[in-house]
Symmetry: C2
Subunit: 342 residues, 2 copies
């Protein structure tokens, strides 16, 4: 059912002028008298004209769309984060006259190395991949002959630029805060082989320990998930630390529940910090001290980089790092105060 749509020709016909002039007027280009331009715009509005971007797109060899790909696997963990980042990306793109197509990469497609159809149909001028994908899929992605960008993760050796949150430094700061509060027995909770994020958060923790000459105790690296990312039951260490540094809020909350069942109160008997500042941070009892990613900056950096690549065919920007900040809540007890009031 092809609808009779108003085109520039219709406007031109009505006004007895050419489509060229209509095009110029509607795009605010030089070469139309102000008076005619006004009349054209008015007529366009009156007739309910809407630009057919597909026509312009074809002329330019551009789609004016950016594909945002979120792997389904990660979508299940932290919907809020991905949806919000997407929203910020979309709104930034609007300023460039771009729309965004959200494609959720199913586990099956990731396994089978199926590239999204928007690529095969030239529906996107660039692709932003939001959330870690498997190495094999990364290779497939590199076959795509359009600009691409990794967001919120990176892969060593991959020839794809990425924008990441500063997991390393964020975690480092959070642990340094704990140490300033008098904690010196700090466990890390997370599978340090599961994702680059967890790994970096662990290394930030480790850096802070090193700086304060606190030895790293392997018994205090507690696995929270298997290599597939499926969360497992946490095992409390035999010797307890004064604080647990969890790689994410969800696990921090699970840990607190577990501690409660063992009769250990948080933060009275033991402090716990998370990471992400997602729903689990506020749903947890007590609410979590954690690190928040600046989603707006993350999205802003991604869009800016992508637009450069598209318009100027700009070369590699490498790894861009976006800072986070600590959100102080109720899951940490200050041991320095505690001692002074003893």
């Amino acid at each position: 059912m092809k609808k009779e749509q108003v085109t520039m020709r219709d406007i031109a016909g009505r006004l007895g002028i050419s489509t060229v002039t209509v095009s110029k007027a509607l795009n605010d280009k030089e070469g139309v008298s102000e008076e005619l331009k006004a009349r054209i715009k008015e007529t366009a509005k009156e007739m309910g004209y809407r630009l057919n971007l597909a026509a312009r797109a074809m002329k330019d060899g551009l789609s004016y769309n950016i594909g945002v790909i979120i792997p389904e696997q990660f979508t299940n963990v932290n919907h809020a984060f991905y949806l919000r980042v997407y929203q910020h990306i979309a709104s930034r793109l609007e300023a460039y006259g771009y729309s965004s197509i959200l494609h959720i990469l199913t586990i099956e497609d990731e396994e089978a190395l199926n590239l999204p159809r928007i690529y095969y149909e030239k529906k996107a001028d660039g692709i932003i991949i939001l959330g870690q994908i498997k190495p094999a899929y990364i290779e497939a992605v590199q076959q795509m002959t359009i600009p691409k960008l990794f967001l919120d993760f990176y892969q060593e050796g991959a020839q794809v630029d990425s924008i990441v949150t500063d997991n390393f430094y964020g975690s480092y700061e959070l642990v340094s805060y704990l140490i300033r509060e008098g904690h010196r027995q700090l466990a890390f909770v997370g599978n340090i082989h599961a994702t680059s994020s967890i790994q970096d958060r662990f290394l930030g923790y480790y850096k802070s320990l090193l700086e304060h000459r606190i030895p790293l105790d392997p018994d205090w690296i507690i696995k929270d998930r298997d290599e597939q990312g499926i969360l497992i039951d946490l095992e409390l260490p035999t010797r307890m630390p004064t604080a647990f540094v969890c790689n994410c809020d969800q696990v921090a909350r699970a840990l607190i529940e577990k501690l409660k069942k063992e009769g250990i109160q948080v933060p009275a008997d033991c402090s716990v910090v998370g990471y992400d500042n997602d729903i689990f941070a506020t749903v947890s009892e007590p609410q979590l001290t954690t690190v928040e990613v600046d989603m707006e900056m993350l999205a802003g950096a991604a869009v800016k980089t992508m637009m450069k690549k598209i318009s100027r065919g700009e070369a590699s920007t490498g790894r861009t790092v976006v800072q986070g900040r600590i959100i102080y809540r109720d899951s940490v007890k200050s041991l320095t105060q505690a001692q002074s009031t003893d």
Copy 2:
């Protein structure tokens, strides 16, 4: 930066044939010998050919995109639900050769009645609105000259078809279950003027009361949010029911926390049920008995209806209702058993 892209002409040139034949072959149309077709497909693959859908789109006067609009306001409550429904919509659309553009309608744009740019640029052949929007915006939406569909809500009087979950019947079934379990003192938690969903869930509750000749007690309709949808502190009724029927899991969980603080155990002293089966249902302690929406059916119905509208210009389908199902968990105590063991 216009990339040199492979076109049908390039393939035709290489093979010494016409683009018409290439087009026919690639689209599996009649009129090309099997042998030539195979050679064309092979060459296309070899040359890394990707269809330029924009060209076909222009010919057809179609964009092969459907816009999915989610109001930001609702996005903040239940990200998981919207993202998952979107995913199902997107994957259903793929089967029709369609992509989906997710547009999050900001509160400001909704207030200012700004229609999404994808409409003004003819980037979408149809629009699915997922989540309740304000009446004024509904009127704006009706100005759009492309097929539109409301998903997960409806508005009396609006000339727009909608697909909704059966809030009425789902709630009715859930309450009937509670009554079967011996409960006869049932409170409803939710602002029955806030959304059509809450209202329908309330009415399902009421229907079940009516059927069982249980009088409706106004003191047992407990407000959970203001008219803007902002959750407020719950006030427990002076006379306690044996079960609370909450309009959503989030509020059910908040209620349970509140009850705990008052020393009332769930479900031992009091039962609580939710609705939605979202993250709050499993994060709650105990986990909630609730109603789950069949998101796949919801999305499937939406896409089917939309495709009909686009291809056949089909008329109104009115209100389509999609069933949910009860998920039984640990927040309900059977009073019949309790009595029999007394």
